[in-house]
Structure formats: C-alpha cells, structure tokens
Symmetry: C2
Subunit: 246 residues, 2 copies
Amino acid sequence: MSNATIDLLRSHRSIRKFSSQPVTDLVLEQILLAGQSAATSSFLQGATVIRVRKPESRQKLAVYAGNQPYVASAPEFLVFCADLRRAGNCCATYGKSFSGDYTEHFIIATVDAALMAQNAVVAAESLGLGICYIGGIRNNPREVSDLLKLPEGVYPVFGLCLGYPDQNPEVKPRLPLSVIVKNEVYEDSADQAPIAEYDEQVREYYRTRTGGGHGICWSEQVAELLSEKARPHMRGFLAEQGFLFK
Amino acid sequence: MSNATIDLLRSHRSIRKFSSQPVTDLVLEQILLAGQSAATSSFLQGATVIRVRKPESRQKLAVYAGNQPYVASAPEFLVFCADLRRAGNCCATYGKSFSGDYTEHFIIATVDAALMAQNAVVAAESLGLGICYIGGIRNNPREVSDLLKLPEGVYPVFGLCLGYPDQNPEVKPRLPLSVIVKNEVYEDSADQAPIAEYDEQVREYYRTRTGGGHGICWSEQVAELLSEKARPHMRGFLAEQGFLFK
C-alpha cells in the first residue's frame, strides 16, 4: 500500500549538518515552484519567501534564532513569511479599504506559509536534500523583520535550512496513531497507556543517540515546554506588524 | 531536474467530486502515518485529526462549512485540529502548571496541524486520491467543536475531503515566482507588472472553465476578500477554547 513518495515522507528527519555541495538555482526553483503548488486558502497566496545568502545576514539570523550555527552554515536559508501586504496592495488598486487585522486573516496567512513550506520540504527531500525548520527566528522577530525589511502585514513564521545532508540521523518516533486520530469525536480517556509506551520508545531513542536528551521522555519534554512562558513578545510584535487579532 | 514527486506536487488541484470507490482503512492509515512524519515544532506533535464518518455528522458539517455538499459526500472527511490539551495533560502528570495561552502556542499548534495535513495530502495524492481543504468549518467553529466534542485547548483549523477523483480540473495558475520569492530583503516595488500579467492568466483560466469566476482576476478576488470582515467570531471562539493570545 506504500510507494516511493510515502516512503520519502516517512523517512523525514531534521538535518543540521550539510555537505559543501551548493544548491543550484535550478534546484531551488523546482523546490519553490513545488511549494507554491500547495493549496492556498481562498486563493490568497498569502506567503512570501525571503532567500538569505549574505553571510553577514546569515550570521545575524543564526544569533537571532537563539544561536543555531546551521542557520549561518546551511547552503540555503529561506524565511517563510505570512504576507497580507500583497493583498493590501490589491485593495488599494481597487479602491477598497483593507481589513487584514482579523484573527482569521492571521490564520489563513500562517497556514498558507506552512502548506507552502511543507510542499517545498517534500520537494527538497525528493531531490536528496535535507532540511531543518527554524522556529527559533520567533525568538527575535523584531530584529529578524528589521533585517529582512518586512513591512506591515508581513511576519516571519519560520526559517528553513536547506542543503545536502552530511549526517544521517535516525527518524524520530511519533505518537501512536490511535492517540493522534480519533473517530467521530475527541476522546482521549484511553490515551494514557499508549502514551506511556511511547514515552519509553522516546527515552530509548534519546539513549541510543549521541548528545541526545538524556533519557527524557516525550511527556516530560512537552510538560516543560508548555509550563513556561512562550515567546511572550509575539503578541506585541505581531500588533506592530498589523496583526491585531480582532 | 524534476522527478515524480515534484511532478505530483505541481499537479495539485482541489477535487470536489469523488467516485464511489471507498478509501480503505489501510490507505487512510498510510496517509495519516505519512502526515505524522512531518516536522513538529519543539517535538510538540500538537495536532489531532477527527475522522468523521457518521452521515448525520457529515451532513451537519457540510452545513456548518457554508453548505459545501462534498463535505457530506466525500468518501472520507478529516478535521485537523490544533491541540494543546494533550500537552496540558502532560503538565498535569508532571505537576506543572499549564501556560498554553500565549500567541506563540497558537502558532506552533496551528503550524503543526498544517504541516501534518500537507504531508497527508501529498501521501493521498501519491496514492491517486484527490483532496479539498475546507477552511469553511471556521464559519461555525462553535457548532463544529460541539459536534466533535473538542475540549478546551483544541480548535478545528480546517477540514479535508478525501476520495478518488471523479473530475479532472485544471491546475490553477500561481503567482510568478519573482513575486513570491525575494532576495535578502522584502521588496515589492517591481511586482506590479508581473501581477498584472498574472491577473490576465487567471482571467483566462476562469474564462475557459465552466462555472468559473466570471473573468474575475486574482487581484480583484483578493481585494474583495481582504476588504470584508473575516469570520469576526474567531477571536471570541478561540478565547472560549482557551487560546488567549497573551
């Protein structure tokens, strides 16, 4: 029931170490065209990609992303932005007033950026490249936006490192399907046992990996993540960019 | 420089008319496992899928989505939810207080749902199925959430119709790459001419399609979309579900 595309999808893992082989413009173009072919909400096409190649900019982005050196060293680094400005310009052309400050607009542009990025990722991996999403650029979104001259109506959702892999990490195990997929209604009362079993699998995954998470399991990792303040600057930053969550 | 996977990605179009051939459980499992293999922010795995098969529920969802009959008639209908509840349960297990009400949490769970969905879509299309995203479920998110018994910390991002195509629509043209991809910084001062050219392409696309958009171009469509109130209930609904945009 499987096929080469599904095998490819299921073999995804983040790559943070790349060979010196450059990504040609032709390869990058194929990746981005495939990205663009993803569905887009209401035909908005609400995503813009900034390709950053200048070493000074890449160094800065690596720092802004919380000191992730592969942001500087990856052959290519793309910043996927949610973009309502292009639509705003269309409003101006047709003499209409722009109302892109609803929560809904934030959702559709963010989802557009994500769908486009994931299609680009699949295309890249099908060509033998490896990738790593960089949510860390939201650590310092103001600095990132100033560097990339992002205007109002645009925000950087995540970055993407691209290049030919110089490492071959294991695929990270995922939660059992029974936990992720529910029939008819949301029902999680039977999830405890499969999650506990999964936690052991994740512990084992980290144990057998060099430099891994010291035997921490999924539940504990997620508990830590969700009990901390999460980038509390985001709301204010997004307001400055014109996303008002009306 | 292309390959079968990229050809597949680039041939995507929404399918709204499906043959009576059912999607077997095995096929659906492959699709969902491939979906799960997508990257997930901070290993959160913040997406849950509700598979809806009951005809009464499907009828209701079709109405809630703004009377889209294929939501009821598609062989399969999946609702992709952003899910912080599972992480909240982990906090409880480890005696930590849950703080999942930041804007950042909303972003990571929403992006997780979108990445998973897009991987599932690619897997589905690689197996010969067609799909249609249904953002329309956000027309009536309260009703959808009540029907699917979505608890606090969970919201329905979009639905997905799945089945074997019984139509063969054209691929919809996308904006020129020069408009979507920028080098080093955001710069749109040269976009007017390529967008005008693209608008003609879209007009032509609609002209040659039965039941098309009456020769409306992309710019005009987007101007209309962004000058209207966009699901103004979303913010209040999300607050009820525990997404506070702190």
